[in-house]
Symmetry: C2
Subunit: 198 residues, 2 copies
């Protein structure tokens, strides 16, 4: 006796998900079998997402309407764009309410080891938007190795255009302790120090 | 701007899966959005599994037909049952072709820390099958802390019945090196030593 065909097909299809191997897929499949209502909820919500959600043709964020509510808003500063890795980064900045311009979602970071090059990111679309005339491009990729490499790459591409290019500050998170900060964060905090203005 | 409602609902429903937190759920949801064909495959196979797969009313294994092909087979020794934790264990033993009796799937192991007690396992059903008259019950839960505790618990319950109770051997896996075996495995290998028969 082998596992039923339909069951094996489910575990195989779950294995395409990032970070899910054979054992996790089996564990997930058994869980869904044991809690069929939750399985049906996943089916329904996934079907809805696949049919209703698209990527904004301007900024690349996920949206129900294209263009998205930020790109189509008249209240935003259309001369500033903030470049981020992924849609959740847009929502994080929006939650904080600290930016009033538009966004550009790259859809990933440069990562040669994973075979991710510039052609896999929305770099061309970004250059096109910059060419249309902007005052400032804020590069807000994460301060990780890949995020910094992607930021440098973008800076190099954009420096030939007449646009101010900035990078979000890296430093000690508010509420944290210097004693626990790593050396590179401390270096960035020093480099990014600002003079008190009176 | 917040993530679209349908999207948040998908990430929430994915978080019910074992081992999946908020970040993994978001990563999975974005992956499915970027590869909608694979998302549709999951929808289809999950729907099929939920509608076609059931648990065998005798052994508790997953099956398309109830009772399952093992329980309804006339070629198997119906006087021996092998007790395992989960369906995949049945398929592992079947793949090896080393057992010709029937199975009993517990659907988990005793784990007080996770709030899993005897009432969460198919213990009552097991006792009922033993009462119907068997020659041998082979306890084949994993040799882990929880697997051993569950095995002891089952042994204690079944020892009042007139049935031979055995435990699968724990020892050095075939092809492995004594030098890499842990102490408890070596202890079990010694305890379980067998005399050569001529």
């Amino acid at each position: 006796m082998k596992p039923p065909r339909v069951f094996s097909r489910l575990t195989e299809s779950l294995q395409v998900l990032p970070g899910i191997g054979k054992k996790s897929a089996e564990r997930m499949a058994f869980y869904l079998l044991s809690y069929p209502e939750e399985g049906m909820m996943i089916v329904e919500s996934l079907e809805k997402v696949l049919s209703e959600i698209k990527f904004c043709s301007i900024c690349g964020n996920i949206t129900v309407e294209d263009p998205c509510s930020v790109c189509s808003s008249s209240d935003r500063d259309r001369k500033k764009i903030c470049i981020v890795e992924k849609p959740m980064d847009v929502f994080a900045i929006e939650r904080a309410g600290v930016f009033d311009g538009l966004y550009h979602v790259l859809g990933g970071l440069l990562s040669p080891l994973d075979g991710k090059g510039p052609e896999d990111l929305r770099i061309e679309e970004m250059v096109k938007r910059v060419k249309e005339g902007l005052n400032e491009v804020i590069i807000a990729t994460n301060p990780t190795t890949e995020g910094e490499a992607t930021a440098m790459f973008i800076r190099d591409i954009l420096k030939t255009f007449n646009v101010k290019i900035t990078r979000i500050a890296r430093g000690i998170p508010v509420g944290a302790d210097l004693d626990f900060a790593d050396e590179i964060t401390l270096l960035r905090a020093m480099e990014g120090r600002m003079e008190y203005k009176e």
